[in-house]
């Protein structure tokens, strides 16, 4: 398998860089360091949390949608300074990362995501289960999300979807 070794080793190197990117991404969200979150995105980006139903039927409506890093920052401000919601914990469990061949200067990455919510004095429950369809680019040697589409199976949301995925 030596040749495959070579291949896999190189792939693995890239894989490791991308993995590191996502590990940092999810760690930031789990730690609710929301102000840092937009920094994982390109200035000009697309972010959507969209029901699988809409995604598969070609409906554009997203439960959460943003078209720039600025809109993501506005999300954080809205969330932290204007919205009312019960305190809760979110914790994210990403599945294996699937890197696709680079196209139009971006690296497509897909993976499953399980998001677990815990409300005060309640059992932990699955708040979001879905698949992420992302596109990564490199700016100033830094990986950034150019596009992120979180397509979720769990279409009947348990009241509110508070924190980002």
């Amino acid at each position: 398998m030596s040749m495959q070794n070579e291949v896999s080793r190189i792939e693995d190197a890239n894989h490791a860089i991308v993995r590191e990117f996502y590990d940092a991404y999810y760690e930031t969200l789990d730690a609710v360091r929301l102000e840092e979150w937009p920094q994982f995105f390109a200035e000009d980006c697309i972010y959507r949390i969209i029901p699988r139903e809409n995604y598969e039927r070609g409906f554009r409506l997203a439960t959460v949608g943003a078209e720039s890093r600025g809109m993501l920052a506005d999300r954080v401000v809205g969330l932290t300074r204007t919205q009312v919601y019960a305190p809760r914990y979110y914790r994210r469990f990403p599945g294996p990362l699937r890197l696709r061949p680079v196209s139009d200067g971006a690296l497509p990455v897909e993976h499953n995501l399980l998001m677990v919510q815990t409300l005060i004095d309640k059992p932990s429950e699955i708040v979001l289960c879905g698949r992420c369809h992302d596109r990564l680019i490199v700016e100033d040697g830094k990986l950034l999300l150019k596009e992120r589409h979180v397509v979720f199976d769990s279409e009947m949301i348990a009241n509110s979807l508070v924190y980002p995925a």
């Binding site: 409506l61 809109m71 300074r81 919205q83 509110s160 508070v162």
Partner: protein, 412 residues
């Protein structure tokens, strides 16, 4: 405790006892008298089923139904309950069928719900089969009365229900046709959420302009909805329907915002495109929130147009189905605008998420105190239309109607 044990408070219009939100017997009576009674229920948009055979499944009250285009110009709504042994035989949300087939014994119905096929009805090789007195005409799917009104499909279980326009009343017909004016509609997409609170709390929430200017800091801060804006509350003759009308103001601090503890004067949007609003309807009103009792809210919030369907799930929860739509002939730019503004609404909306949460807090707060009562005297005890937002009159109106339908008048 049966709901017969409950008495309505003496201050009849000024109070709402908490047992109306939690008593299982009261809930059962509501299903019978309200949901399956003489009321029009929201089923969907006709544009969701453009071709003959297209169907959509949904739930009215607690009963599963199918909305299907049974002819180019005919929409049928039938109960999703096989006439043979009761299966909810159609399980998909959407689809297209040439007829309706139940998997258990393959009884088939045409798109109007008439029984057309009963396998082995005459037996197999002269054995078995249905008895001679079996009349297929007596075994169709239960077919509801239907009206399609400017793109929206309504159905009712009752023969007493007046025609839809009459059900709305002339004033509300005006409100309704302001947005549903006959232009073709197009679906932008769906949002769905389960809200763990009594279904009536959702109706109250939208009939309640008082909260909008206080709870929704995002709204208030960006002047989309404020107590000092020109506005009005309109109620139909029966009191069951209501509309909130208001006019977008500017982002400014003044004597009124000083009364709003959460007003965030310093808030700025980094990317204000979400607030890029255009005035598309005649007049200066920017918001028109119609509550059609009992099943739906018709939202026109700046450029965001949605129907919000209520599907009750027991006394302490309901499913809330949002259909975001646009006019079919809208420009791409307008469709994009509506899609952007959708960030304000739904289970993750800057504004609507607040409402889902406070409804949950409400149920949590009063569930263990059924004999206490809510106070709904903002704006007095009168039930009347107003040209301001500092009132709970539309809530009072709904409960006066509710007592009538549910038979609690004696209590007054």
């Amino acid at each position: 405790m049966s709901h017969d044990s409950h008495a309505w408070p003496a201050d009849a219009d000024g109070r709402v006892p908490y047992w109306v939100y939690s008593d299982p017997d009261v809930y059962q009576a509501e299903l019978e008298k309200i949901w399956y009674g003489p009321h029009w229920l929201y089923v969907g948009l006709e544009c969701e089923i453009p071709d003959v055979g297209d169907f959509k499944t949904t739930t009215l009250g607690e009963r599963p139904v199918i909305m299907v285009r049974s002819a180019p110009d005919e929409i049928s709504v039938v109960e999703n309950r096989c006439a043979h042994r009761g299966l909810k035989f159609c399980q998909e949300r959407f689809g297209n069928r040439s007829d309706l087939l139940c998997p258990y014994h393959q009884w088939s119905y045409n798109l109007r719900g008439e029984l057309t096929g009963v396998p082995f009805r005459r037996g197999v090789r002269r054995q078995g089969g249905m008895p001679a007195d079996f009349d297929p005409k007596m075994h169709g799917l239960n077919r509801l009365r239907v009206e399609e009104v400017n793109g929206v499909v309504w159905a009712t279980f009752s023969d007493e229900t007046p025609p839809f326009r009459e059900y709305l009343g002339e004033r509300f017909w005006k409100h309704y046709t302001r947005v549903y004016d006959g232009r073709k509609l197009q679906v932008l997409g769906y949002n769905r959420q389960h809200i763990p609170g009594n279904w009536k709390l959702m109706q109250e929430n939208i009939k309640d302009p008082y909260h909008a200017s206080l709870l929704h800091v995002f709204f208030v801060t960006f002047g989309l909805f404020r107590a000092d804006q020109k506005s009005a509350v309109d109620i139909d003759e029966t009191g069951r329907h209501g509309i909130l009308i208001s006019r977008k103001g500017e982002k400014e601090a003044n004597d009124v915002t000083s009364d709003m503890r959460n007003f965030q004067g310093d808030l700025r949007l980094e990317d204000p495109r979400i607030m890029d609003v255009v005035q598309e309807f005649p007049g200066e009103d920017t918001v028109g929130m119609i509550t059609i009792f009992p099943s739906v809210i018709l939202q026109q919030q700046i450029n965001s147009l949605t129907t919000r369907q209520i599907v009750p799930k027991g006394p302490d929860g309901f499913d809330f189905h949002w259909t975001h739509w646009t006019y079919a002939d809208d420009t791409e730019e307008m469709k994009l605008r509506r899609t952007r503004q959708a960030n304000l609404f739904g289970p993750a909306g800057f504004v609507s998420a607040d409402d889902g949460e406070v409804i949950e807090f409400s149920q949590q707060g009063f569930a263990a105190s059924p004999d206490e009562a809510a106070v709904v005297t903002m704006g007095g005890r009168e039930i009347e239309c107003t040209d301001h937002m500092v009132t709970e009159t539309a809530i009072r109106a709904m409960y006066r109607y509710w007592r009538k339908v549910m038979g609690y008048e004696h209590a007054e």
